[in-house]
């Protein structure tokens, strides 16, 4: 065991140099096992908090191993700075790391909190829907409150500008449905029934669903992002202070435009879906468009139209309401809008599928 070792700190270009010095010192102490360590701090070393942390670590290390530590300062100024610095941060209290919870307890706790948050959100959404209905009634009694220009602007964005994508998607879905069926139907010579399939599937199920899914992607996200950004920029607060209810200003025109545009887009989707189906029927199954339409007319009943219409109405209501609700619920911070928008789209899609199942069950129960 040697008596003492002397190591100078010569280089401190960056923080890594301190750690390299520490590794070097630790290795030297463990091999030589000295009773005293002399650290010389050269004059070119700048007094920094990195140096402070290094000396703190060395002091602790030497204290634990019962080694005498002597620090020699070549520059009085650095010593003075560091002493100043010590006085400056004398109250440093490093928080102990919190002990880790049992992962099972943590999981149960997390599920519990998530459930509470979900219940709270459902409650808030019901209140929101109630307020929306009340505002709608008030709008009827005082039509001046209704902002028609805003409604038309939103109708353009939600409806007209979605026509190309809704039309293309529906035509393709109609085409694919007819094509899939054509292979089976041809085997039995039941070519004409492709019209029944396309008509029923498009009107009762596919058109409302495709339209709603596209609206969830386009409209819900746009509503949430717009209202969420307004909230972050304190625009909503400023509206309240000038006595303008954000509900009349934003929620009503947006939701109503969505409810109006949804069924109209669904009709457009049925039309283009039929076109797609008819094209395949004509090309692959030799079913002429007129016989296709005649067959479709024969199979469809008024209740099919009503079920399709009801679905499109409910879906577009969900799209508009969820978009506005999630926008108003946006938290603080730049990333809040992004997260809320994702959440809004996912929630809308989920609600749409639930509503779809519910209406289908209802139509089955009441024989619609």
């Amino acid at each position: 065991m040697s008596d003492e070792i002397t190591i100078p700190i010569e280089k401190a270009e960056n923080l890594d140099d301190f750690y390299s010095f520490w590794e070097h010192l630790e290795k030297k102490i463990s091999t030589l096992n000295p009773s005293q360590v002399n650290i010389i701090i050269k004059s070119n070393i700048r007094a920094t908090s990195g140096l402070f942390v290094l000396l703190d670590k060395i002091q602790d290390y030497c204290l634990n191993r019962k080694i005498d530590l002597k620090i020699h300062w070549e520059s009085e100024q650095t010593k003075k700075f560091l002493n100043n610095f010590k006085a400056f941060v004398k109250h440093v209290h490093i928080k102990p790391i919190r002990p880790r919870k049992n992962p099972l307890v943590g999981l149960v706790e997390k599920i519990g909190w998530l459930s509470i948050a979900q219940i709270q959100e459902i409650k808030d959404f019901i209140i929101f829907t109630g307020k929306f209905s009340l505002c709608c009634v008030k709008c009827f009694s005082k039509p001046g409150r209704f902002r028609l220009s805003e409604l038309l602007y939103n109708l353009d964005h939600v409806g007209t500008r979605a026509m190309v994508i809704v039309g293309t998607m529906s035509a393709l879905v109609g085409l694919v449905t007819a094509f899939q069926a054509s292979i089976q139907l041809r085997q039995f010579g039941a070519n004409i029934f492709v019209a029944d399939l396309v008509a029923l599937a498009m009107i009762r199920e596919l058109s409302p669903l495709i339209t709603a899914i596209l609206m969830a992607g386009r409209t819900t996200s746009a509503f949430t992002a717009e209202i969420g950004t307004m909230k972050i920029n304190e625009e909503l607060d400023s509206l309240k202070t000038i006595n303008v209810d954000p509900f009349y200003f934003l929620v009503i025109p947006k939701t109503i435009s969505s409810v109006v545009a949804g069924p109209l887009l669904t009709i457009w989707s049925v039309f283009t879906g039929f076109l797609g189906g008819m094209t395949v029927a004509f090309l692959a199954l030799e079913v002429t468009p007129s016989s296709f339409l005649q067959e479709a007319h024969g199979i469809l009943t008024i209740s099919d139209l009503w079920v399709g219409f009801l679905k499109s109405l409910v879906f577009s209501f969900i799209v508009g309401m969820t978009g506005c609700f999630m926008g108003l619920e946006t938290g603080h911070g730049a990333d809040a809008v992004g997260r809320q928008t994702t959440k809004a789209v996912v929630r809308t899609l989920f609600s749409i599928v639930i509503a779809d199942a519910f209406i289908t069950l209802l139509s089955y129960a009441f024989n619609w």
């Binding site: 890594d16 490093i94 603080h332 730049a334």
Partner: protein, 267 residues
């Protein structure tokens, strides 16, 4: 208190040397042929009315805007020609007006980020240094909070801790007091002074808060929109002298007027 003496002597080496710098956006030139030097351990405030090019100059100095022409030497490195190398980046810290904290990181993680990315320190060392810095800005209790949960002053202090965590000898501050109340503002000023005195950090502060300029500046550089460059340079006392251009006297004089008015009211 900072001395009012001139730093332009041999005892202090040049930290920043700007020569014939022209900068702007697109075809619009905001600064034309600006030259000045900043010396070690002084606090220089860059001041002027809105639109005079304060932020443009700062952006050039921290490498966020490429100058049209001219040279900038930081610690002897030509940053216009060679760009901001790692060496220069690690020697400079920047405190942004809106703090620039990452919203999805806690205060602790925000301050630890430069260490985790730029050093090979183990987590225990990082923890110690981060808490040290947070204690320096009196924010150790808020280490686990998210930036959205902080007040304006706390955000500034967290931004300051992050800018300082790599121990840069040079710190740029863009409007450090914008949007803060006078009490918090003077706290931030004191913090900047302490940093300058205890850690020997050179500070370049862009501000138009007159009270702050008087509290912290060793030297001021006043920019002007019409001149498209430096209107006046010197200590606060020098700039207040009657032989200065009218705009400079107006800038400081208005403050004197407000002060005397408040004095009369309080009597």
């Amino acid at each position: 208190m900072p001395s009012t003496g001139n730093f332009m002597n041999e005892n202090h080496s040049e930290v920043i040397k700007v020569s014939n710098l022209s900068a702007g956006y697109g075809n619009e030139v905001v600064l034309r042929n600006v030259s000045f030097s900043i010396f070690e351990s002084e606090i220089v405030t860059i001041l002027g009315t809105s639109g005079c090019g304060k932020s443009t100059l700062l952006k050039c100095l921290v490498g966020l805007l490429e100058p049209i022409s001219g040279n900038i030497l930081i610690f002897g490195h030509d940053v216009v020609k060679a760009g901001f190398t790692n060496e220069v980046r690690l020697k400079t810290g920047v405190l942004f007006q809106a703090s620039g904290l990452i919203g999805s990181f806690s205060v602790f993680d925000n301050v630890a980020l430069p260490l985790r990315e730029n050093t090979n320190w183990p987590e225990s060392w990082i923890r110690d240094l981060v808490y040290l810095k947070l204690e320096m800005v009196r924010l150790a209790d808020a280490a686990r909070l998210m930036p959205s949960e902080l007040s304006g002053g706390m955000k500034k202090r967290a931004g300051l801790a992050r800018a300082l965590v790599l121990d840069p000898p040079l710190l740029f501050c863009d409007e450090p007091l914008a949007g803060l109340d006078p009490v918090t503002a003077s706290e931030i000023d004191e913090l900047l002074l302490e940093l300058n005195q205890n850690l020997n950090i050179t500070l370049v502060v862009v501000t138009h808060e007159l009270a702050s300029i008087e509290r912290i500046s060793d030297r001021c550089i006043m920019l002007d929109q019409d001149v498209k460059g430096i209107l006046a340079m010197g200590t606060v006392e020098e700039l207040k002298k009657p032989d200065q251009p009218l705009k400079v006297r107006n800038f400081f004089g208005r403050h004197e007027k407000i002060k005397s008015k408040n004095g009369e009211k309080s009597v």
